[in-house]
Symmetry: C2
Subunit: 261 residues, 2 copies
Amino acid sequence: MDGYSRRVKSEPLALLGASCPTGCKNCGLRANSAFLSGSAAELDAIADFRQGTRVVEAGATIVPEHGTSSRLFTLYSGWAFRYKTLSDGRRQILNFLLPGDFIGLQDEFADGQTHGVEAATTCTLCVFPRDRLWQVLHSQPKLGYDLTWLAAREEKMVDDNLVTNGRRNAIERVAMLLMHLYRRAERVGMAHKGGIEFPFNQQHMADALGLSLVHTNKTLRRLRQLGLHSLEGGALCILNAAALESLGDYFERPLRPVPLI
Amino acid sequence: MDGYSRRVKSEPLALLGASCPTGCKNCGLRANSAFLSGSAAELDAIADFRQGTRVVEAGATIVPEHGTSSRLFTLYSGWAFRYKTLSDGRRQILNFLLPGDFIGLQDEFADGQTHGVEAATTCTLCVFPRDRLWQVLHSQPKLGYDLTWLAAREEKMVDDNLVTNGRRNAIERVAMLLMHLYRRAERVGMAHKGGIEFPFNQQHMADALGLSLVHTNKTLRRLRQLGLHSLEGGALCILNAAALESLGDYFERPLRPVPLI
DNA sequence: CGGAAATTTGAGATCACTCAATTGCGGTGG
DNA sequence: CCACCGCAATTGAGTGATCTCAAATTTCCG
């Protein structure tokens, strides 16, 4: 067992999305076909709800693990992740966050216990005041539906990670993680020439997979030597998707566009 | 690695809640202080949404793992659990369900992939037609807020299980599971004389904890011999809560009442 | 050219797994 | 009432995947 957190101050890496435009109607992210377009009324409600934007550096805390944040966020650009830490420092990464992911929802209903969110690259965030959430949902019920959708979608992501941590062996875990991250990034338009920006180090991967750093390293090497992927210079390329999918028992599925708030 | 599913037809055990009354206004479950009372308008909306009740036996499938259900449920009485199975049969229990838990939400937004729900005891369920969900949320935005709350709460439960599977060792896992299930059951009034109905066999526990059946058995024995709990005749008693909490690094927190739909 | 962090490698230790057999218990048929 | 069966719980023994420890190497930056 490993997972002892080692604080990492990784480098800001090239960003794919620039900063968020002033109005939600021109939201660069929403132009992506991975997201639902949303009615004018919804866009107005979201624009009105939005307090502003915020940029945080790689390695910065977006939501502290203990204590509540009075803000909610939508990740506009960059990579982040949610995590939890046991009292002796063992850390588990719960899931990774990509543009379009909503942040801070669970805290709204938290009873103390919670999780932290950390930026893995420089991140741009849309900021919303938590105390207006109910008011907004009340005036625009569709956003409540969308929010539930996003919450359910994130839960399914955690479900998958739980299966990985509970039932897959090391090589299956790594294969599954690589495919999962690649597919998600690709979906929001972050893939270029068959590769994606990959800002995570092996400690991150170990913490997400429930493996030790050393064993993660050795497993990664096996996959690399088999020619299934390449991971260098902060970029991940999938060289043999079929093999990785098969190893991880994790296959691509058609995905519907999801709401964006 | 174990987790190969072994089909279990466990015995129907004594139920705590009887069947659901005809109207939601007299809902026996809502009388419990663990749940918010809800306004008259909400209760009317829920009563109108509800299609009827359904009773399923222990071991029956409530939601099939593959394929969509056209119904949503609230568990009214009994124990159930959500699970996922890998293609070679390894099974992971994602979380356990108790009265008040909403079932089937994720499927609403599923893209194929999904999970199954199985009754562990005889279960009474309130049944809702999935295709009216949006209409109901539209007319009663508060229910959208509540549904998001329930989804976020369930996600936090899965988060905890993920930490357990990823970062705790065997004895910590078992200690944590026993305390978790006891506390949850106690909260909805299922504790009697310091014990709760415990319909799960060791295979269930192993599948929830990411351990093999044999190792789960041996770990359980260690805890029993330490005098921390007793588990016989389908009943779980916590004999040394402080020790179990400390072992599992899992402590009780004050919990707010949660919505009931 | 340092120096810190990340990656890599080797080696031995362990926890958890698999295999296999036994025990205990409730139900069933004779 | 007892032999028998099926299933869950136990136990023992050996194996193996993963962990821990420790050190070398590489990469990245100032």
